[in-house]
């Protein structure tokens, strides 16, 4: 006999249950109520609708025709107001009373609205259904929107609106985005990607009040006083199972409607599926378990035996360009271990959480191609002991054959994008190779692949290797030293992108193979850290070469040379007298004038250093940093002060430059010259940075050298005023500090990045000012005289003990 089934709610769970029931040939007369004036559509795809990638019609699951064909009575736009379980009837909001044999709840969930003052203003919405989506789509470009909630839904809403040109700000109460699905590192990468899309992201932000005007939302006020103007405010802070009707009907309700393994509520004739249920203490928001429930409830309705079992869940974010995946449990714990893979250049992050020989959690960002495989390992509790060493690289690296890094590249289809900057696919590179391009330079020249940012260089080389076979040998990227396989560039990107502010953090995050580095990597890391994090990182003297540790140049016999600063090469009789006195007092064997217009006292004993510095300090002189990978000297000519050809005050500019730049650490030594006219008496054109004064201003050129290599500088910019000249030189010095490899002089760095790129960076006035700002922040820490400080700890320059005296006793 045909039974009457009433379904409350036409969502994805009840929709799937209906399909299953019809497929199984269930003998039911079905009436479907839905509060929304439409049938079942794919709610998950609302985000692509919002961003304009799909239309509503494309995401409809069950059309009116489908319902009709299957004999389902639809009562859309109608609500059930009450249920009489004893009489087995429901009452609709128009007063109709319908009887049922079985009743299925699919009431879903309600968005949670934070009861902030002003939450009931016009323009405050949730992100739940098509109405909300259309509301957001109605917001024109250049309108402002604030999204509260940096979880899955909030971010999809934000990205969708941003794609429509809306000015979007995301407010998230936690320290990083999607904290339930992502760890901090992946959250950081996600945030970066969203910021790149023009979305403003504020984490650790507490909303205080929603401000309105004439009953309409105007702005969101944070508890730190920040006011964020908005035309629309979207709350996407979570959902609550919709249990009101069930509760009123006297069903057992907790967080959701209690159901057993067969999806029966506390009343055998009433069943429930979807987001409204609570099963074994859990509630559900993702579609996979809902579909499982639908299957089970259909069987139960058919009188067959089935059990709903909770499974591991995985999450993917549907935001174009942000590939992320998370599954399982990735909290840290004592019995848990991590395997982490990071490639900052490609923006790839993978973390597997292991407990014993099983993967229990995975977070992936940037490259989620293997996510299903990892998810399978978690779900099936696979023993991974045998593949642990290559596990993180994914399925391509498992199996019998020895792992081959090229196999993954070989397996790529021809339309796989290799170079993101120029949109070059693997096929185009293969074609170029077939046409005769047989090395990286040729590929760059013919296809432009890897010719922009260069991060895909490795991939291009692998395509070359796969295509050409043994004819191509991948040039090994030189690692920093034996302590790591990473290159300077990789390490530096890690320091910046992962905010590594200590050497231990670098050792850990970059997988250093030694406990505390070596004499090659430590000075480089010390520089990168202090240059990138001047306020956070504490300079480590023990990681510096002796010259920079003791602020003097070591000589072949273990003595030192001492060079006081003479600003711009200018000195005075009293300074000269003090230098002469010091030379006598400490029996300095050699006094020499240097190429940088300074006086060098050679052969000072290590233990005398603090004393001679004190004498020189007392005469008003400071350390000349003649030992440093930092600002050495600014060599000048006498300019307009005395010279009949001088066009500007080159000496004055030299002194000003030296005063502002001194103490700054750079990747290698930094020598400047300022010449008062194109006759160039200060030899500015073979300095790292050279200035030639002309009548109309100052020509600033960079990249000169007069050492192992001899190079003439190339013109960077000409500026009209002395102030501009100093500003530009500070900016280019900071650009060099932030980007060059340790021990690359400017000319070597310039050969790698190109003068055009440097010019572009400096010509951008905003960028120029930012560089100078960052330079000045660093200089608040480093622009000082180390001699004066070391005089205070003079005892450390003395022997620890003198056993010679005791032996004499």
């Amino acid at each position: 006999m045909t039974q009457k089934l009433i379904i409350i709610g036409a969502g994805m769970a009840t929709g799937r249950a209906l399909e299953q029931l019809l497929k199984a040939g269930g003998d039911y007369d079905v009436t479907l109520f839905n509060a929304e004036p439409r049938g079942n559509y794919d709610r998950i795809m609302l985000s692509p609708v919002l961003s304009g990638d799909k239309t509503y019609e494309e995401i409809v699951i069950h059309t009116a025709d489908w319902y009709e064909e299957n004999g389902v009575t639809c009562r859309f736009g109608e609500k059930i107001t009450s249920i009489d379980r004893a009489a087995k009837t429901v009452t609709a909001d128009n007063g109709d009373v319908l009887s049922y044999d079985k009743l299925l709840f699919g009431t879903g969930s309600n968005p949670f609205i934070i009861p902030l003052p002003g939450h009931d203003l016009e323009g405050v919405i949730a992100y739940r259904d098509l109405e909300d989506t259309e509301r957001m789509m109605g917001l024109g470009p250049d309108n402002k929107c604030v999204v509260i909630g940096g979880g899955l839904l909030g971010l999809e809403a934000a990205a969708g609106m941003a794609a429509r040109g809306v000015d979007v700000t995301v407010i998230h109460i936690m320290g990083h985005l999607m904290e339930r699905q992502l760890d901090e590192a992946a959250g950081y990468l996600l945030r970066k990607a969203l910021v790149d899309k023009g979305i403003t992201v504020k984490c650790s932000a507490n909303s205080k009040e929603i401000l309105g005007e004439n009953g309409k939302v105007k702005a969101l006020l944070l508890d730190d006083g920040t006011e964020l103007p908005c035309d629309l405010l979207v709350m996407a802070v979570g959902i609550r199972p919709n249990v009101q009707l069930a509760q009123d009907a006297g069903l057992a309700v907790g967080k959701g409607i209690h159901v057993d393994d067969q999806m029966r509520t506390s009343d055998d004739d009433v069943l429930a599926v979807g987001e409204c249920v609570e099963h074994d203490g859990a509630i559900f928001g993702l579609v996979a378990p809902l579909y499982d429930q639908a299957k089970v409830v259909a069987k139960t309705l058919m009188g067959e035996d089935a059990q709903f079992v909770q499974k591991e869940l995985s999450t993917k974010l549907k935001v174009t360009g942000c590939d992320l995946f998370s599954a399982g449990d990735f909290a840290e714990g004592e019995d848990r271990e991590d395997i982490v893979f990071r490639d900052p250049a490609r923006g790839v992050y993978r973390r597997l959480v292991l407990q014993g020989n099983h993967v229990i959690g995975a977070v992936m960002y940037g490259d989620t191609a293997d996510s299903n495989w990892f998810f399978g390992l978690i779900r099936d509790k696979t023993d991974i002991a045998d593949m642990r060493d290559t596990l993180i690289f994914g399925p391509a690296y498992q199996g019998g054959a020895p792992s081959d890094p090229l196999s993954a590249v070989a397996a790529l289809p021809r339309d796989a994008e290799i170079c993101g900057c120029n949109g070059i696919c693997k096929g185009e590179i293969e074609d170029a190779i077939a046409a005769g391009a047989d090395d990286l330079a040729a590929i760059k020249a013919t296809t432009k692949a890897s010719a922009s940012c260069g991060t895909c260089t490795g991939l291009v080389e692998q395509v070359l290797a796969v295509t050409l076979g043994d004819d191509f040998v991948i040039p090994a990227a030189a690692s920093v030293c034996g302590c790591t396989d990473m290159t300077h560039e990789d390490v530096r990107r890690m320091i910046k992108s992962q905010k590594l502010t200590s050497m231990q953090a670098v050792f850990q995050e970059c997988g250093w193979k030694t406990s505390c580095g070596c004499h090659v990597c430590r000075p480089a890391l010390n520089f990168y850290l202090l240059a990138d994090w001047p306020l956070e990182y504490q300079d480590d003297p023990q990681s510096r070469f002796i010259n920079e540790r003791k602020h003097a140049n070591i000589q072949k016999d273990g003595t030192f040379s001492v060079v006081p600063r003479m600003w711009g090469g200018i000195t005075t009789p009293s300074e000269l007298r003090a230098i002469a006195d010091a030379a006598d007092k400490y029996m300095v064997p050699t006094v020499k004038v240097t190429g940088g217009q300074r006086i060098d006292l050679l052969g000072v004993k290590g233990e005398d250093l603090p004393a001679i510095w004190k004498d020189l300090n007392d005469a008003g002189m400071v350390s000349g940093y003649a030992y440093s990978k930092g600002l050495r000297t600014v060599k000048t000519c006498v300019g307009t002060d005395h010279c009949r050809f001088g066009t500007q005050d080159s000496t004055g500019l030299g002194i000003k430059l030296e005063k502002t730049l001194h103490g700054a650490w750079t990747p290698h030594k930094l020598k400047l010259g300022v010449s008062g006219c194109p006759r160039n008496c200060a030899e500015s054109t073979c300095k790292d940075i050279g200035v030639i004064c002309v009548d109309s201003g100052y020509q600033i050129s960079i990249g000169g050298a007069a050492g192992m290599d001899v190079k003439e500088t190339e013109l960077l910019l000409q500026v009209p005023t002395e102030e501009d000249a100093i500003f530009v030189i500070k900016a280019v010095t900071q650009l060099y500090r932030e980007n060059a490899k340790y021990l690359d002089r400017i000319y070597k760095w310039m050969a790698k990045v190109g003068l055009d790129w440097i010019t572009e960076q400096i010509e951008d006035l905003e960028n120029r000012a930012d560089l100078v700002d960052r330079f000045e922040i660093s200089q608040t820490v480093y622009r000082h005289d180390p001699w004066a400080e070391h005089v205070k700890k003079a005892d450390t320059y003395q022997p620890l003990a003198n056993l010679a005296l005791e032996a004499a006793e």
Binding site: C518, R522, K556, P799
Partner: protein, 111 residues
């Protein structure tokens, strides 16, 4: 026969650093690694007598500041492709103090 004498507090030598002890027969360098272990070696690289105490200490090795020879603090052996050995002396940390075995230093004087 051992004859341990007190030299200085461990903290007088920076971690991953060194200080000198003068003796009648030249200087001995006292090294401290990151694990707070101490080592005593002649302060002269077998290559060109570079002052090892001024080198960068990494793991249980020091790099000579003059030409980057790397010397084991434990054995005094030159690491890598270069060859040679530096004399080492017994040293230890006791109650936060650095102790040296002078018996060995005296042998050094004889040699």
């Amino acid at each position: 026969m051992s004859d341990w004498i007190d030299i200085a507090a461990l903290d007088a030598v920076p971690a991953r650093g060194a200080r000198l002890v003068k003796t009648a027969h030249g200087c001995v360098a006292i090294f401290r690694n990151a694990m707070d272990e101490v080592f005593a070696l002649d302060n002269a690289c077998p290559h060109k007598n570079g002052p090892l105490a001024e080198g960068i200490v990494h793991g249980n090795a020091v790099t000579c500041p003059l030409h980057n020879w790397v010397i084991s603090l434990e054995t005094g052996m030159v690491q890598g492709p270069d060859e040679g050995q530096v004399t080492t002396y017994p040293a230890r940390v006791e109650d936060g103090r650095i102790k040296l075995d002078v018996a060995f230093l005296k042998q050094r004087a004889v040699a």
